[in-house]
């Protein structure tokens, strides 16, 4: 087994681990980031609603929570970050629908609270203007509170971009590397993984839903977290024009939320129902799906269940009620020196940029020496997204590399060239290709492209098709060759 050494080990390649890695790559520090999955951002990050928010919806602008501060500090950082990393970012604005006077007075209070906190831009929209801005939302809405600051991003793309940029600037990244044990030595940790041991002085524990588990490995028990599961549905792209803004409605039942939002790729996402869950249980249930759909129909009454092309469970860690379930974990362990744990819960993506900075500051306080990396390059270029290019650009791309003339995913018009580029930027699985290129994300959900993408993965990785997985580990897609089960050896 390999023996590695580093100054800082980041455990977890979700958006938080990635943003810390990138932040640390500003400095001359040895950093290794380990991720247990086959690709980055596959935990809570990928189930994020893609919204960059101010915390007005669930946090209700509560300054007493550290999480609110991180979200507000991150707000001005997100757009420049996305620009540097060549990640789509769109400021769509939020409309919080108001259906009655009771809701109106609640939002009035919320607005004045926001203003006191220096969060600008909120304004009330009357019914006529709301109709103009969003003609398809429920007639029950009599007004709305508009927040022009709210934006949307692609959380997985952002995570991958952060990792790529960090890695460009010297961070070592290891996937399918799971932390099994941690032992404390004098001034350092010995971290045992399935791919060898790593000696390090500092640990940043950004293990998402496993953050508590990792902390327990070194007997750090500063916090208790509870898993909360939500339900997210994706609507067909044909309905992409139904709304222009992120729409938020106050939930009618406790423990729910009700959001419908555009995404940077043209589909609408809706998210609802937050309920306690079993750790590691990513399954959806018929009941949650039903509540989810009923809720979104309160925003857009004409929606049909046929318009849903995909749905999944969103999964977050929340703190216990004594601390306040809105509180997050961004802290150095009280007992174990040089261990920083981070877990935001909701909204992790929105809070990420400021969290990254704060973690670096916490590391400095724990004794990490930070010397500027003069070679740091903040710019990362995304590979070409064929269907976003003009005809002229598409033509040019095909003439340079004919594989861009071969469409493998018809729903999202993804070309072989893009899939190959994704493999060469380290996608090794079907889901890896899906999150990087969108092949399989369209309305046929991989019906057409799966065999084609498997072929390309097999060819480019030099592996037989039967070895190709959906998402790493034991998720092989094709278990046998035709005739194999009839006793024929090939």
């Amino acid at each position: 087994m390999a023996q590695m050494e580093t100054e800082v080990l980041i455990i977890g390649g979700g958006v938080l681990g990635a943003v810390v890695a990138r932040e640390l790559s500003h400095y001359k520090v040895d950093v290794i980031l380990v991720e247990k999955e086959a690709d980055f951002g596959w935990g809570s990050t990928k189930t994020n609603m893609c919204i960059v928010c101010q915390g007005g919806d669930t946090l209700e602008f509560r300054p007493e929570y550290h999480r609110s501060k991180l979200v507000w500090e991150s707000m001005p950082l997100m757009e420049p970050l996305c620009r540097e990393l060549d990640v789509p970012f769109k400021r769509v604005g939020e409309l919080a629908l108001i259906r009655n006077n009771e809701e109106f007075s609640k939002f009035q209070k919320l607005k004045s609270k926001a203003e006191k906190l220096g969060l600008t831009g909120h304004q009330f929209i009357d019914q006529d203007n709301l109709r103009q801005m969003e003609p398809n939302v429920t007639r029950e809405a009599i007004a709305a509170l508009y927040d022009p600051n709210i934006a949307i991003v692609d959380p997985v793309r952002l995570t991958i971009a952060l990792i790529e940029n960090a890695s460009q600037n010297g961070v070592k990244v290891m996937r399918e590397t799971e932390v099994l044990n941690i032992s404390q030595k004098v001034n350092q940790f010995e971290v045992e993984t399935n791919r060898g041991s790593i000696q390090c002085r500092f640990i940043v524990n950004a293990a998402g839903t496993s953050v508590e588990k990792i902390a327990r490995l070194v007997n750090s028990d500063d916090f208790v977290l509870y898993p909360i599961k939500g339900y997210v549905g994706i609507l067909d792209k044909n309905l992409g024009d139904l709304i222009k803004h992120e729409i938020h409605m106050r939930p009618d039942a406790p423990g729910q939320m009700n959001i419908l939002t555009p995404s940077v790729h043209g589909n609408l996402f809706f998210g609802t129902t937050m309920q306690p869950a079993r750790r590691g249980d990513y399954s959806t249930t018929r009941r949650i799906a039903q509540i989810g759909f009923e809720n979104v129909r309160k925003i857009i009454p004409d929606l049909s269940e046929k318009d849903i092309i995909h749905s999944f469970a969103g999964y977050l860690m929340f703190r216990n009620w004594e601390v306040g379930w809105h509180e997050c974990v961004v802290q150095a362990s009280r007992k174990v020196p040089r261990l920083i744990s981070i877990c935001i819960g909701y909204p992790g993506v929105s809070a990420a940029p400021a969290t990254g900075r704060e973690v670096v500051e916490l590391l400095r306080r724990e004794g990490l020496k930070l010397e500027a990396n003069s070679k740091f390059n903040p710019i990362r270029k995304a590979s070409s997204v064929f269907n976003q290019l003009s005809n002229e650009q598409q033509k040019e791309l095909i003439s340079k590399d004919s594989r861009y003339g071969h469409v493998v995913c018809r729903c999202e018009t993804v070309t072989e060239g893009e899939v190959v580029a994704a493999v060469h930027s380290e996608a090794t699985t079907l889901d890896g290709i899906k999150f990087r290129t969108r092949a399989g994300m369209g309305r046929c959900q991989g019906g057409f492209c799966t065999p084609r993408v498997v072929n390309i993965l097999s060819r480019e990785l030099g592996l037989p098709e039967e070895k190709i997985t959906k998402k790493g580990r034991d998720s092989r897609l094709l278990l046998y060759k035709t005739k194999q089960l009839l006793g024929e050896e090939r």
Partner: protein, 417 residues
Amino acid sequence: MKFSEVDVAVIGSGPAGMAAAIKAREEGAEHVLILERQEQLGGLLHQCVHSGFGLLYFGQDLTGPEYAHRFIEKVRDLGIEILLETMVTQLSGDRKLTAINRYEGMIHLHPKSVVLAMGCRERSRGQLSIPGTRPAGIFTAGTAQRLVNVEGFIPGKKVVILGSGDIGMIMARRLTLEGVEVKAVIEILPYVGGLIRNEVQCLHDFDIPLLLEHTVTQIHGEQRVEAVTIAKVDKHKRPIDGTEQVVECDTLLLSVGLIPENELSRMAGITLDPLIGGPLVDERRETSVPGVFAGGNVVHVHDIVDDVSWEAEIAGSWAAKFSQKGDLERKEKITLKPGRNIRSIVPQTISGQSDVTFYIRVKEMEEKVQLKVGDLYQRSFRVAKPSEMIKVDLPVKELKKLDGRESELNVECEKGE
């Protein structure tokens, strides 16, 4: 061929596209061009290695590849132009078409007329919102068919099939013959979704359990499918508590319906039938956009391939006429109205000036019914089933009886004695 000179462009080369192209050429269109996204002509016929094709069209029981072969030879003999591995990415309301491939790069065409023959696609897990985890091992039946029959891979060795559509039942037989254990075919309705001959020859012949009025309520397994929970459903298709049972399997196939491909139809601004999802067409198979015709499963999903080809020939023939004359003579149209227990009728409008074949599907299964088309036609059926399309031929002499007085024609399925 210069792309600027295309008379009829046909998008897709399955049983619809080839039939349309051949007909257009035979009707005198000079430059007919087929655009096909795959490496060869024939579309999905290549993965349909089973027989049952061409019984009506050729009077012979052919396999998919054999059926394709006959058309491919004719396409070649007639000098129809072919662009393979070519994806049409744009189609405008004035019939401007953009396609890409790796050889020519980007191709811009402005054909005199267009035939849409892109076929259909399968409904996915996402559209059914089947609860549970998201492991590997869930495929649509058609994707599995391609994997098993063309690519050479068997997805798994213990399979549950949700939905009793024809492809699902055909795959149940194919997988069984390949040594796979097909645990059950699960159908939410009280009757199979496909043809009765497939129920008998694909399921009964191999003792594959068919569970009617059942559905999959949960998928289990983190990495790979490990099991599914199935349950009986009530009249409203809701799972009944207490009837759940867990079926161990490594693969779940879905055969839960087909939907016309309509990306390009939408892009061109063509009016779609809200229920079927394909373009609204008249008896010439012209869509709401003049000069754009459509035939086969892109319009509505047929039961048998012979009808797909026949329907596409109508589209091809009129596309040829349109390309020669620059337009077609247009008459007042009569709209077909679906009445009692009628789900869909194609064509949705007619001129009343020529013979027409209606393709009709009922909503619910009913025994002893009378199908009526206005006062013009009436026929008794022992049974009418949504899974079996009803064909009605109305000659022009019957339609003439309407004498331009009617702008609507009701189609109804009445309960007989």
